[in-house]
């Protein structure tokens, strides 16, 4: 028995889950309808796929949510997992699920997938026969992903950096890399049976003034970490920056360079997709204004030629949206996309050349680290600040990079910390910004820039 299989046996042998039948799961995936695989839909490239977020504790309410989404002609169903499951606290999920079922009240902020199990969940997924995307935030997602794949969920979001630096203070990063290696290995194994399992990275990160060069580098390294385990379909992603031009430039550069590095490292048979997240920062408390922001975002997603858009709702400022509100947001987005025709193709050569040079400088530094494996190179790069995510709560993150918006809403680097970008690129960034005279005013401007959409 292989080492991986032995580890899998240990992982699924858990007091909170029913016995796993790996043979049965393999045969299910082998014979599963193509419709369930988002990679199959991506290959057609005939439209921008629309996906909301959403998860309720009970099977009954989750089923009802999917029914609402289906009425809105949804492309990709979400399955958002509750926070106890994300932290591997299955005992608490089980208790809260029981309370939710008894009292008709939601005691969990998502669907406890491990607690429901793959046999139950699969009934729902195959009933609707739409691709489902797993949304979580779990550092150790091994059991969760085994359960998801057995259920017919063939898109797995997350990664060792993007699910760690924005969400955790001190979960060990080296462990996260190894846990996600497991996830990628299992996804790769099942990818050989039917259409490939799609892996997606989480580009928004802290959604707080993260410069595009840092986003793109992290997207590329998480992609390479998955590809080296055999993943064949991967989605890179980013969220609205605050300037349409910067979104377009980011899109053009991330598409070009993710393909470049995949080919360079010998993974030219991989399909790479682009996912665009609607604004991930703070939303206005006025619901009509939120609708307007969401609509603007949909236009930008079309402009950047994304393959999938992940949408928000008008209830964003208030908490988890009702299923009707969530489905309405899907319908609105689909309407905007249906009526939006004849989009121009836009380029900004100077901006793209600058961003490309920044990404390549950082990638050169990461890849030339002395460590023997890619994950160790990336680990060392994060520790030394070569990769530095503004506003990350994690102790390993350097937190030296400072950014601010220019007059056109573009995020610019004013303190590069240890980012190995060239003097020329750094001078270009700084030349775009009119910094206020005192440090106090600079900080007030940063506060203002974080809440750009309020």
């Amino acid at each position: 028995m292989s080492l991986l299989q032995r580890e899998r046996d240990v992982i699924v042998n858990n007091e909170y889950v029913d016995k796993f039948d790996f043979e049965e799961i393999e045969s299910f995936i082998k014979n599963a309808p193509k419709e369930l695989f988002i990679s199959h839909h991506f290959k057609k490239r005939d439209r921008l796929l629309v996906q909301p977020r959403g998860g309720f504790p009970t099977y009954k309410k989750m089923f009802a949510l999917y029914e609402e989404f289906m009425k809105a002609d949804i492309d990709v169903l979400p399955l958002t997992v509750d926070s106890n499951t994300r932290l591997n606290d299955y005992a608490m999920s089980k208790k809260m699920l029981a309370l939710s079922e008894e009292n008709e009240m939601d005691m969990l902020n998502g669907y406890p997938l491990v607690t429901h199990g793959y046999r139950t969940t699969r009934k729902m997924i195959t009933h609707f026969n739409k691709p489902v995307s797993l949304r979580h935030g779990t550092p150790d997602a091994r059991l969760l992903v085994e359960t998801a794949l057995g259920s017919g969920i063939f898109e797995i979001e997350g990664g060792p950096i993007t699910y760690m630096l924005p969400y955790s203070k001190n979960f060990p990063l080296d462990k996260a890399f190894l846990y996600w290696k497991y996830v990628d290995k299992v996804c790769a194994k099942y990818s050989q049976l039917n259409e490939p399992i799609n892996r997606e990275s989480f580009g928004p990160l802290t959604a707080t003034l993260v410069p595009p060069c840092v986003v793109i580098v992290i997207q590329i390294v998480e992609m390479l970490l998955s590809l080296e385990e055999g993943v064949k379909s991967f989605s890179v992603s980013f969220s609205q920056n605050g300037s349409m031009m910067q979104d377009i430039v980011t899109s053009n550069v991330i598409k070009k360079l993710s393909r470049f590095y995949a080919d360079k490292l010998g993974y030219s048979d991989t399909v790479i997709n682009l996912v665009y997240h609607q604004w991930m920062g703070a939303f206005p408390r006025n619901k009509e204004l939120s609708d307007s922001l969401i609509n603007t975002n949909t236009v930008i997603a079309a402009m950047v030629r994304a393959d999938k858009i992940i949408i928000k709702t008008r209830d964003e400022a208030f908490g988890i949206p009702t299923m009707q509100c969530n489905a309405q947001s899907v319908a609105n987005t689909k309407y905007t996309l249906r009526t939006l025709k004849g989009l121009p193709v836009v380029h900004d050569e100077e901006e793209e050349a600058n961003l490309e040079a920044e990404v390549i400088s950082i990638m050169d530094a990461v890849l030339s680290d002395h460590a023997d494996t890619l994950w160790r190179k990336v680990f060392n790069s994060i520790r030394s600040g070569i990769i530095d995510v503004p506003f990350s709560p994690h102790i390993i993150n350097k937190n030296e990079v400072i950014t601010i918006r220019d007059d056109n809403g573009n995020i610019r680097i004013i303190d590069k910390g240890k980012l190995p970008i060239s003097d020329k690129c750094f001078a270009y960034e700084k030349s775009k910004v009119n910094l206020p005279p005192t440090q106090t005013e600079v900080i007030n401007k940063i506060i203002h820039d974080i809440g750009a959409m309020l």
């Binding site: 969400y167 707080t208 709560p393 400072i402 106090t440 940063i446």
Partner: protein, 134 residues
């Protein structure tokens, strides 16, 4: 001036913490930032270890209430009378009046309490306090 700062309790509000860090550095302080999710004991350890002049705790949405009551005892135990203890942020769950909040936190052992005060206004007041004291 050495300042130890961080967010107390099970609180991951990192944005303000980072802005406090940058602002203190801009005012010439040497900053030891413990980040989010920090316990009171960790703060005291850091104050002793760095021989800090100021401990600046921040908090949002009332987390501090349950975490800071023991400050006065720790302050006596470690003989930290000369260290200035400051807390700022949103110090109550729900709405609360300054006239209730400030005396309460002073009784816990803080020298300066800023409830829903703008960041730079608070830091100006802290600077003035340090000047008056010396």
């Amino acid at each position: 001036m050495k300042v130890v700062t961080g967010v107390v309790g099970n609180d991951i509000h990192v944005v303000a913490n980072r802005l406090i860090d940058i602002s203190l550095q801009a005012r010439g302080c040497e900053v030891f930032n413990l980040g989010v999710n920090t316990s009171l004991e960790e703060f005291i350890d850091a104050v002793v270890e760095t021989d800090a002049d100021i401990l600046l705790i921040s908090s949002l949405n009332g987390e501090a209430e349950g975490w800071c009551r023991d400050l006065q005892f720790l302050r006596a135990e470690y003989q930290l009378r000369d260290v200035v203890f400051v807390i700022g942020g949103n110090l109550a769950v729900g709405e609360a009046k300054d006239s209730d909040i400030v005396p309460k936190y002073k009784s816990y052992g803080f020298d300066l309490v800023f409830h829903q005060v703008d960041l730079n206004t608070g830091l100006d007041a802290l600077e003035q306090y340090m000047k008056d004291r010396s």
